[in-house]
Symmetry: D2
Subunit: 317 residues, 4 copies
């Protein structure tokens, strides 16, 4: 699809003039996931000293915050579900049945096929475009994405960096409060790091403090959040991370700085740069250890055609 | 619950005389997951040379084998699900909706609350017991297990060992073909290893060849399988692994050797020893590398009260 | 099961000394549904003059009140779901995917297997009893009730009677406000009817006014409700209706008059008398017509093993 | 939308030159459901002599035939789901959880928003059109149809007519065997009726014999079916029924007579004439009574935005 470009790139400032083909070629479906490999694993392990694991995700239950329109239902069939089987063993077992927007609840990573934009005036499936310019008409089916699903993502095992904006500000950030490049630079300095810390393929995690509202303010968790502005996303994208994560629900600041540009960080990082967003992370414990650098490890749940993955990313410190 | 024991332990040969309290105490919910920690991580990393990742799980879709009674449904709501939002960005997004026995499909790890047995004649919730003797009446709710759910399991990062029985036999094993301790010992020898290779907390994976039927014989995949017999499970349990996995659907051989004793390996490993079973694994690529030892890494999907976890375990070689 | 009776009938005042076998025999699964037949249809049609239909049910959507623990999810797969098929016709179609407690949401009729009680101290499946004394152990499976499911109910086509307590009181009744036999008798008198109006197999519908809160107070709809007390249920049961319905969520008054006796009207009518409850009805339009007598028609959705049925009962006036 | 018409009406022979606006006006969402009313009820009741009810639908369970891509899952949460509540009553209850394409399984009626066609070359939502020319872009949301959903349909209470083609042929019809106008005329004659039997708003049910395969050939039930050809549908449409039903899965003959024109009967009846299709009916018992004329009664399950309705239509004979 290399020949196709946004008709009017000015429409979304998040995408600039030429947002596809991607740096990985017009047919690529992995984005900066292509940067994974032995070198990143070695670099990640070089950051490990304590050999301790810190979980960076929340558990999933019916009380977690949910974006409007989504639901979470877990039901245990029977009691027990099966058995007893075997005259002497009398073996029984339990199942559970889950009904939910599996890839878009709680702590989750967006697939490259999650977010796109409409080009032109008509909302037809040919005009709705995703990473590498893929039109919805070519990636969509009622039973799962046929391209850009989360099963295309690699296992992530790469150096991780925590930028603790909450620590910098000395407070939980406010809803709608934008994180700027200067904030991120100040974090580096406060944490005793410099811009040389970044290498392509790293995972960069941003702590805003919104994660502290995950359990206590579940009903309003999605009403708004502190988060990255477009400038910070552009600054980060230049470092070519494979993952940008945050403890808010969208990485993006919500409501957006420019009300005409919704989720520009999503657009810039996912669509233009093929960078995976990891949303709704749990970063407090990691921040408390001051282990700013660590091995970030995450194997997405490979549901074919899903738009994202739940699961527990870990920091190996 | 230390005071409670099986009224007639002979009923299930898989459990012996005193199957609880567990070695981890009567209140424990993690079993041999308690063996995880920095030492195991260090030991696991000592096995890594190439710094390559091999996925040990199958992707999930509507064509995977399913045990009788279970289903898998993925539906994409709308097209796209959300948007366009923002006058200039026209941002859209896709969700997916999943309905399934999430913890018991495809490649998955059983929680300690998945499998139990009925003691005595009456199938009441007080007589159906699990790990540490927990009665169903104390761990059950319609909306998830209240004890022994998969969220209680640790992140597994530990030395892994592949025992390639398929390689030993030079063929895909037959349905109902039992793996014995002698088979496992012969695997060690053939693979240039000895019994000293085992250390408590390791993950031991068994390749039977049944995994080669996962895609090609999905409709009959659950009709039967080669797998461990009780003697092999007892032999393995003495090594105190945290995980025993296999490329068949139940680790157990099916049908069972003794038709009166259903899933004895499940009972022995999960209920008596608190060892996690990893079922439906994909082990061919790992076997082909001859990397018999590796770092086994798996972070269960922490759905609160679920009976198991899907996801991709990895071998870091 | 005729030989079995409540060990201590005093435990639930709603059930009295001998609550089974039922008047229809120990094996019956239809209760007063057995009263349906040509005579009732003739009697029902004799009440029809205008030949107009009034719907007595609410539509179903994601905004309806839901009892705690239940959910309603509707998702449209794709867009469209199928097609285009046929080079010239280019036929497409839409599906919807529903995930919900189908028999227990919005306007619905309870199956005889919906409600029971525990006898004795132990909550085992043999001690949890339903209509005709059926133990849970004999009617239950993880995939649907094996006895007393809604598919056992007949099609209801029978004389209907609306008792307008809201009209009597001149106001929407309060949460927890009990309807007594005297209230029902006063309704009859106010509506120009007498006790001779009742015949076995009729459907008796009670208007409390709580239905007016269905749309406007959905979030608190299940917090409490006016409804029948046990005395009124006993009074009604003597008339041997096939159905008792109401515009509240449980027919019962909530909270109950005696906090030790939960949903006594359910117990008395369903378990002892085999009378079907129709809950969450929409009765305002019918009341406004003053058509107190009508043909009540309802064909339950016959999902095998379901605990109830949604759908639109109608009054033919 | 009166100004819009098919660009090239010849594309789908099922729709002719001008298929919208409908006879009920450009904004109508009920089609021939508008013909319901007191007169039809009176006419229907005039056909009733025995005052017996015959169910015209199959029950729903996990063994029913399902069109490709659809599923049916029923799970009973817990055991019981709720309780015991109340110290003396110890009340318990059961729920069920259903996950399915609710409006498109087993015996069901299609909503007017179920079936449409693409006009022009591009499959955008503006080019996919339904009854009254509604574009998908104006009737669609991820959470239900916003127009033409089944909740817009009336309660059907109208004269019914059974045309017993199976009886005429003296055999179960073959897959792909087309029913012609001559067949329907021969049915009338054989059944002692004439074309004067039809009145606008009636329900016409066609027995092909395919229904006898519903339970016995569930796995192949959707592979093909006898059914109406376009000529028969045109002949029927001239009689202006409100409903055309059949015991096959699509009313249409499958595979279609013209492989380039898929489901022309759907297109002609639903899209052009606003006639509701009732599919997967159970007609054997009715046929055996020789009660060719009867009152057809069906209250669709009013799930807002659903594409169809399950449920049990009845014949009152």
């Amino acid at each position: 699809m290399a020949e196709q470009r946004s008709d009017d790139p000015a429409e979304s400032p998040a995408l600039g003039t030429h947002w596809y083909p991607s740096r990985w070629g017009a047919e690529d479906q992995r984005g900066n996931g292509n940067l994974m490999g032995p070198e990143k694993i070695r670099a990640a392990l070089a950051l490990v000293s304590r050999h301790e694991i810190i979980k960076l995700g929340h558990p999933y239950d019916a009380q977690i915050p949910l974006a409007p329109g989504r639901l979470f239902g877990l039901r245990m069939p029977g009691g027990p579900t099966g058995g007893p089987h075997g005259g002497r063993s009398k073996t029984v077992w339990n199942d559970e049945f889950l009904a939910t927007e599996i890839g878009q609840i709680g702590t989750h990573m967006d697939a490259l096929g999650h977010l796109g934009r409409q080009i032109g005036e008509k909302a037809d499936h040919g005009n709705i475009r995703f990473y590498n310019g893929n039109p919805l008409s070519e990636i969509w089916s009622p039973y799962g994405l046929t391209r850009l699903g989360i099963e295309k993502a690699p296992v992530f095992f790469t150096p991780g960096l925590l930028l603790d904006v909450q620590g910098l500000k000395g407070r939980v950030m406010d809803l709608g409060e934008e994180i700027t490049p200067a904030d991120l630079q100040a974090c580096l300095e406060r944490q005793g790091l410099s811009e040389t810390v970044f290498a392509p393929g790293d995972a960069v995690l941003i702590r805003t403090g919104h994660g502290s509202r995950f359990r206590t303010e579940a009903a309003t968790f999605y009403d708004g959040a502190p988060g990255l502005g477009l400038a910070a996303a552009e600054w980060l994208a230049e470092k070519a991370p494979s993952v940008v994560g945050a403890d808010n629900f969208a990485v993006d600041v919500v409501p957006p700085v420019d009300p005409e540009v919704f989720h520009p960080v999503h657009q810039h990082l996912i669509m233009k740069h093929g960078i995976y967003l990891h949303e709704g992370m749990k970063l407090d414990e990691l921040a408390e250890t001051h282990a700013w650098r660590f091995a970030y490890i995450f194997a997405p749940l490979p549901i074919v055609g899903a738009t994202g993955s739940p699961g527990t990313p870990i920091a190996l410190i």
